[in-house]
Subunit: 351 residues, 4 copies
Amino acid sequence: MSKIKVGVLGATGTVGQRFITLLQDHPYFEVCEVAASERSSGKTYAEAVAGRWKVSADIPPAVAGMTVKEVEPGLDCRAVFSAMDASVAGPVEEKFAAAGYCVFSNSRNHRLDPDVPLLLPEINAEHVKVIEHQQKSRGWKGFIVTNSNCSTMGLVLPLKPLDVEFGLEAVSVVTMQAISGAGYPGVSALDIVDNVIPYIGGEEGKMEREPLKMLGSLRDGTTFIEAGFKVSAQCNRVFVLDGHLECTSVALRRKPPVEEFTRALAEFRGRPQELKLPSAPERPILVRTEDDRPQPRFDRDHGKGMSVAVGRIRPCSVLDYKFLILSHNTVRGAAGASILNAEFLKAEGYL
Amino acid sequence: MSKIKVGVLGATGTVGQRFITLLQDHPYFEVCEVAASERSSGKTYAEAVAGRWKVSADIPPAVAGMTVKEVEPGLDCRAVFSAMDASVAGPVEEKFAAAGYCVFSNSRNHRLDPDVPLLLPEINAEHVKVIEHQQKSRGWKGFIVTNSNCSTMGLVLPLKPLDVEFGLEAVSVVTMQAISGAGYPGVSALDIVDNVIPYIGGEEGKMEREPLKMLGSLRDGTTFIEAGFKVSAQCNRVFVLDGHLECTSVALRRKPPVEEFTRALAEFRGRPQELKLPSAPERPILVRTEDDRPQPRFDRDHGKGMSVAVGRIRPCSVLDYKFLILSHNTVRGAAGASILNAEFLKAEGYL
Amino acid sequence: MSKIKVGVLGATGTVGQRFITLLQDHPYFEVCEVAASERSSGKTYAEAVAGRWKVSADIPPAVAGMTVKEVEPGLDCRAVFSAMDASVAGPVEEKFAAAGYCVFSNSRNHRLDPDVPLLLPEINAEHVKVIEHQQKSRGWKGFIVTNSNCSTMGLVLPLKPLDVEFGLEAVSVVTMQAISGAGYPGVSALDIVDNVIPYIGGEEGKMEREPLKMLGSLRDGTTFIEAGFKVSAQCNRVFVLDGHLECTSVALRRKPPVEEFTRALAEFRGRPQELKLPSAPERPILVRTEDDRPQPRFDRDHGKGMSVAVGRIRPCSVLDYKFLILSHNTVRGAAGASILNAEFLKAEGYL
Amino acid sequence: MSKIKVGVLGATGTVGQRFITLLQDHPYFEVCEVAASERSSGKTYAEAVAGRWKVSADIPPAVAGMTVKEVEPGLDCRAVFSAMDASVAGPVEEKFAAAGYCVFSNSRNHRLDPDVPLLLPEINAEHVKVIEHQQKSRGWKGFIVTNSNCSTMGLVLPLKPLDVEFGLEAVSVVTMQAISGAGYPGVSALDIVDNVIPYIGGEEGKMEREPLKMLGSLRDGTTFIEAGFKVSAQCNRVFVLDGHLECTSVALRRKPPVEEFTRALAEFRGRPQELKLPSAPERPILVRTEDDRPQPRFDRDHGKGMSVAVGRIRPCSVLDYKFLILSHNTVRGAAGASILNAEFLKAEGYL
């Protein structure tokens, strides 16, 4: 079977670089096009990222020599992964979808659109059905599928089994987020040396809103009904390369014993696991039992960065339970999430 | 007026070093004795801390040449500040109190004793009255007064006006604590590089228990009644030198408008301010209005490290309000707190 | 005596901010004008630096409310301190000098001009005599005086007594430079986390060239003769807030015993010390005798950041001696240096 | 072919952990024994390293359940890798060699013994011939082979082709060493936050002495003649997890053009490459041509941590050339080096 040709939009930024490395030797997809802003277009990919390549692995040779194109339909591929800045992503992604491309977007612009899935196939695989409605109402041959913000991703995955099993009522979360989440150059070293930055613009709003759509339901294939629980988020930037750590408390309709709570997380599996998708980790949620885990440096790479680690599960005297979540923000929280979405849609016959 | 002679027990550790520097040129107190474990005793203070002096300021010359004594009564001073390790502090502090010394302890051992004040004079000045009961029931000429754990201190100061004005029902707090809080050598660099350590042994229990005694009441001068609200704490260690940052949410009996909430914090003053004690900051709580403050590096030194900075006051969708607290953990949270306690007791005639 | 009115050009950047804080309550000078790029001009200083104020001390109230002007002559002051970016500083500084201002520049543009002193009054006070020649040949009423690059400054101060006493033949220096030296936003946190950046554009050339002019001689008040020794520099950026550490080896014409070598450094004094200038530290070079000092965090603030700390003096098996130098890069290495230059020129009657 | 049984002495420390992970699935060797100090012996390996496991990869399951033995002969294996602390390694390693074990030691104790090879098979493969002499003169059936200090290793590998091609006269090196080089707990976070520690006890002496033996010659199979060049080292600890960066200058008997200098490094191959040993990287020296490389985070993992990266090759105005070296201190600089030594001795029939 020949591979599906894909392109990466915004290919030169830090998330774009992750797409390029994660798609190397992918069993379904082959990167055939890289596109970026005017500043880069016309250069080879290697030239365009010179001095800005921030992934530890080297540039895949197959991509290094490609010419960077402008971010316009006309690319020779079936699907595009969008890592564009939110300041430009919105209309460009629509243009690509209208032109027949399958758009997998990591940008925030269309996440809350009423006809766009905010997809994480472990938890809301059935939301893809809105795509037909999207195509019909917008007159598109292609479509847009989005994934959530990086800090939402780690949170919402463990919330799913808790909601299903025990009924979520409230979630209070405080994050300690990695600097890679801010892109490049992103956070100034002068701001973070001997310091924590207790503010990330727009982040708390995303964390408080996106889970409600993601854990909500799709009625009649056309209308999203938000979930009914409340989320309160406080977001901080700490001096860590990769891996968002989230101190989470939850109130539940039914308060289970700690063993049952733990088991619900540890045994959770979703459609990607059933389908054995290439990027699906065997265990989407990995429960650690040590006193002091998960930790960013040691737990961000489980399942090649696609497992979310959970630990320190214990009763909370204000809500019901509290625990830690650790997820790799540029893999499971960004590029890896988009790729898993594409794998899932391919498996479902959309692509 | 001649100064009161004081000694520092556990003078060579990181908190001991803070005592030494904060007491330099103090208007009430003069360090006349330094005592530490056997390993150090007999050496000059400068010799004993060689290679272990971790305060930026140099060793005060008046102390550098003092001979370090064993931690035994017999020191030529009226009061002692105890910065001893909790593994040994308990019985030693009792011995000193029995021998007639006024003991100001930074150790956890006696904090929850039913006849020992866990004193922060801005918030529970009236708790000192238990000292008479302590002396009578234990047959001591001296006494023990304790101050709270460093992470409790920053929390409990802003909680006081909130409790008085609006009635506290619940407090949820997630800390990002500085490495200096773990003493020396304390945290290994290998553990904290590119990492957060989401666990500090015993810390969460202290934060959940100490505020209830501190904001509770003293009945009949003999019995502490704990406050009725609940505290849930999650404690993390981050790569910051000094300054504990605390993401805090509170539920209140009466939910005020944000202006009233802010004013209650900003206008709070306590007995140390009325008495104009030397270590009392003009404003015990400093409210910052920027989006991204307080931050450890920029806000830990207000009021010479004795002001607690509060910021990002905003509604919480799970409890009522959420906000940030930043306090200098080795000044307001440790040595500075003990010294303020001593100043207050002197002003009240106990010393 | 009324103070001399001064202005700060490029007042909103990190070096500009240092000028503002160091000039607060200065005995000779009073900041009356702040100027910066178009983006800032018209705003109050506090508005212009909002979110970009990176000094720990607060903005001096007297300056906070000043209106930021454009960087054009017409400022109501006698002297200006220039902290402008090198991309614009050159012609602007000339315009100010032509218009009669005394310009004290921290920018690199005019440092190597044949009629401009590259002044460090401890080591080449006599170079100021070229000012007359500068004014005559350029037809200026004002003048330009420069100070060296931050990494040169720490090096050249200890080199002076070594050259005078023993005759310098060669200098090999490897630097570990603080991130504040790169301005704001400067170094990306993503570049420096778990890393060292072994390259600083242009820095090695400055370190290899500037010392030769600074330790050279001025012939006939008109011509600089460069010193004859060689300098080889290797520059690195490390994750330190302030303080450049320099591992230095020197070859000398006469190789003294280590005691004599040390004494030459420790006893060195210059004209600023004789004149007791306000910013002159009592000891320009502070010799530390511990095995492991100087260190950036502990030794950058000696003499209010104006002393250079030297340590680990020991024989070198390739050249003659090796030792460490530590200097505060934004105080002695930048703003403090310019201010000391201005104090010296005032004392000499030039201002 | 069945694998050779090996043991790891000092298996629970940071270097011991590296041995365990690097030997997982090794084609020649199988870890059958783990030994450590009394504190650990009797526990399973997983229990013994609980809370102290500092490698990112998980504990190999085959080793996790092994019982940790005492460090005494009687282990069921043919060879042992010694990662013991230098305070105990000396006599223990001798006991093992006497008992017939092949000892591959990472400790400093026997490195400079006149009958023990200080082996790096890329550069001094012929030194193994001293083993016969060692066995005869000591009456041992086994033997001891050592590898150099971690900071020596990165240096000496590129020095070899330079010495062969151009004749080394002098080497001046300044290191910026990773914290993992100090073991665990090793460096205190309190010492390294916002700081550089410009001193590592004993390190400079090792770097100045070991290269002379390693690049020296073995006469008559019995006597080492040291190389004749001089080395001057200055060692610093920086806040980097893994990877020692070394700023190096060299004086050469013949000064080649830069292309020839570069080619000598880039084209260098040794016996391990000829023999295609499992741990031998294809290119022992990897020359980077970017302005700002090598960097610890990006260049420590080339050749699975066994390639040494060199960059910024340029003329030096004091000596002849200067350049950067970056090597992975716990792989090529420690455990990986011992394993490569063992592979080489197996290939040569000693094992």
